[in-house]
Symmetry: C3
């Protein structure tokens, strides 16, 4: 009797199926420190308990992406161990801040299935929900991945493709309890620009770059208990290279965006995300952002910006997303669409 | 007057000698996070405070190997700074879980001495005991190392070779206070297999591999305040390579064993251990296990498995421990014999 | 409107100007663990909460250099983003221990300006003060850096060069509240030598060496939210090498000095410091110390040693600071002058 987890293949999924993912994980102050050691992040709320208190938060939350990576990592052994590709995210909302001491667990429901025409793989759509130790929802999101079939001869399931919103509506964003930016200290936060200073269509070159190392991306990925082999094992890929976890690029780009978006303090939602090219140790990653939309919220002093965050290999001062063929331009590693809360 | 510690040589030890090792060390949540960043561990008890509470533990312990490495590291400056080789362990028992906030210190007693026939070195046997800030024993173990003589001409001491048990008897295992596996949640733990599902003689290929980096093994070894030069300094060995601390391979193999032994939640004892070949950055480490024995315990729902944990350089699906010459097969890095508590 | 921070140029500073630096930062137990993973530190006070309590400290402080790096990192975006060179430190005093949970912020005042004769850059002198969440001073220091001018044609300011003490006077050292070394446990601390055992002029070879890696120095530097590009980006320097942050060498040398100065428990002041040569991954760093002065304090059992701490690339058993030309000898990376508290 084999005891090791072979992961699920396309045939193992059916619409409506619920997957209770393993290994709940308690967030600690150690996670905050490691996140700060691995990414050049300086956002004042997660950096400073005193600043967090000054904007009305009862406790000192970790970055939303810490919660995202932990919650996401839980799904890998059941959803994407046999994935060919991670195709996209949608409708990711952060429902409440996560703090040291909170324990996250994740469950997923299969919401769609579509076999590929080649018969060797198919697309699996899941909606995943991470809850804390009290059973309160911390975040949820939809995701779709291309998964190998175990047997190409097995019959195709009825195709079900869920309708997913192109982006989270501004009125569906959840402002953390108590958040109040009316006394926001821009000097402490590191930048004078507020919600009104950003214009839709504006692009911001974040200027700084970071060269990736093997040790750092593996430590980050392990921290989230993400077990996908290709990130850790030079013998798992024909080219002998360790593929950097896509979430590592997201966190790195988000941290780099501090320089120009220091007041985009909290990630409210992730609308969409595409990992458009692989990243490897030795690559130097830069980022630029585009303001896609703006919205007000009911919370005092709190506005929202919808931002495109683009990570590139090598700096692209032209901030070009698409090449001449309409596909992502060479060097683009990540194209992420998200909402952030900023002071008005 | 030289102020630096030259370490002890074979002549400096005598049977009955007690060594109070320096630098007590407080365990923190930072240690838990770093352990999880460096090793791909996902065991539910150390991962989740909520899971630990659900199995009756009053507080959230760190992995037993965190305590082992910290306690062991303390002995290095006094016992093995001038060691030629770390020859073995025996009779290592974990007497109580260790939690963030606990401070460990270690003392050792010399329990045996035997000069080698070449007259240039000898074997030193010590029994080491780590206690917490209340003076309670957290773990103890025996260990023997080959140590250089300062002067080959110095006389040999009377040979004393202690009798050490080949393995800890099942009835001597200490179940942590309150541990109760009767409500054990296998879905949360990540695997359905319980004590009854494992058979003596069964071998489990843990499948996954991790490629070592210099930064990670040095960070781990430093975290335990283990100061042996060969792990940190390319100028300390003629080949200019940093030798990976043997305990790093133990922790890595233990973490890899999650895939097939996710319910072997707690390490209860280490019966024996041999580091059969050196490991270096760039090596890809895999692991397999063999079930050596099974035992019941008096605690509700708690069984014990005696396991052989073998780490290899490169995957060995044949799970061969011995080569044709009866010695450890090529590629075997570690041969560890331990007891773990599993749900019945 | 450019949103990114271009940093200040020489023309942007004026004497008397106050800079409120951004991103207050809360210290955590994660910082202690990471510090211990990155540097081979074993000083008993920061290592052990029990030891700290035994010498009269009400809480368990982190190493003074953790506070120094965090506080210093805050100043980089405003003071030295366009620096050609970090010329020196003076008058750095630690006013109170820093503990997990404390939030540090830093402000600087410009205390001097002197344009260089080439007209392309100038020296900026600042005095920086880090305060905790209660507004209490944790540490302060003076520093001077050479900064580019934006426009070589802009007029030179009136030269103001502050008078800075060559070293902090012993009577100005601040002993932490409650510190009492009368019951000091040398066995736990790891070394028998006390204040009386050290002689002015004595040199101590710390023997051990550590080979630098890219991942470790970047993680350390990021942990302090130090954003200077040259440490992170292989594309930021013509030679494609990442320059190791000078503070990384300070912390590494201080940790190495444990072997011979284990009882120099607490850093009381930094009198002066020069980074005399760049360090890079692959370099093996060693350290030696010279006792420059001794002083008593009013606190029970507490003495002070003024120490020169020298880091070298490759071991220099001759402990030579100056070459034949009177300049720093080849291989000298750091020449640091500091005060430490030691048991009498």
């Amino acid at each position: 009797m084999a005891k090791t987890n072979p992961g699920n293949f396309f045939e193992d999924f059916h619409v409506g199926q619920v997957l209770e993912h393993a290994t709940p994980r308690t967030i600690t102050e150690g996670d905050r420190a490691l996140y700060g050691a691995i990414y050049p992040t300086r956002f004042a709320v997660p950096s400073s308990a005193a600043f967090a208190a000054s904007v009305g938060l009862a406790r000192h939350p970790v970055e939303e992406l810490v919660a995202f990576h932990v919650a996401f990592g839980k799904t890998v052994p059941d959803v994407s161990l046999n994935a060919v590709a991670n195709l996209g995210y949608a409708e990711c909302r952060f429902h409440r801040p996560v703090h040291p001491g909170d324990t996250l667990r994740t469950r997923s429901e299969v919401i769609g299935l579509k076999q590929n025409s080649n018969g060797r793989s198919g697309v699996v759509y899941v909606r995943s929900t991470a809850t804390d130790q009290e059973g309160r929802v911390a975040l949820d999101w939809a995701r779709w991945v291309m998964v190998h079939k175990r047997d190409p001869e097995s019959p195709a399931p009825e195709a079900v493709v869920p309708e997913l919103a192109p982006y989270v509506a501004a009125e569906d964003l959840v402002v953390p309890d108590g958040l109040d930016f009316t006394g926001y200290d821009t000097a402490a936060a590191g930048e004078p620009h507020r919600w009104a200073d950003y214009e839709v269509g504006e692009r911001i070159d974040h200027v700084d770059g970071v060269t990736l190392t093997e040790a750092e991306h593996m430590m980050a990925t392990r921290l989230w208990q993400n077990t996908a082999k290709v990130h850790f094992n030079t013998e798992a890929r024909p080219d002998g290279r360790r593929l950097v976890y896509g979430g590592h690029v997201i966190s790195l780009a988000r941290a780099l965006s501090f320089n120009g978006l220091a007041n985009a303090q909290l990630v409210a939602a992730i609308n969409a995300g595409a990992h458009t090219a692989p990243a490897f140790a030795g690559d130097t990653v830069y980022a630029w952002s585009e303001v896609l939309d703006k919205a007000e919220t009911a919370a005092p002093g709190v506005g929202a910006l919808r931002l495109r965050l683009v990570a590139t290999k090598g700096r692209d001062e032209s901030m070009t997303l698409r090449g001449e063929d309409g596909k992502h331009a060479a060097g683009v590693l990540l194209d992420l669409d998200y909402w952030a809360f900023v002071p008005r």
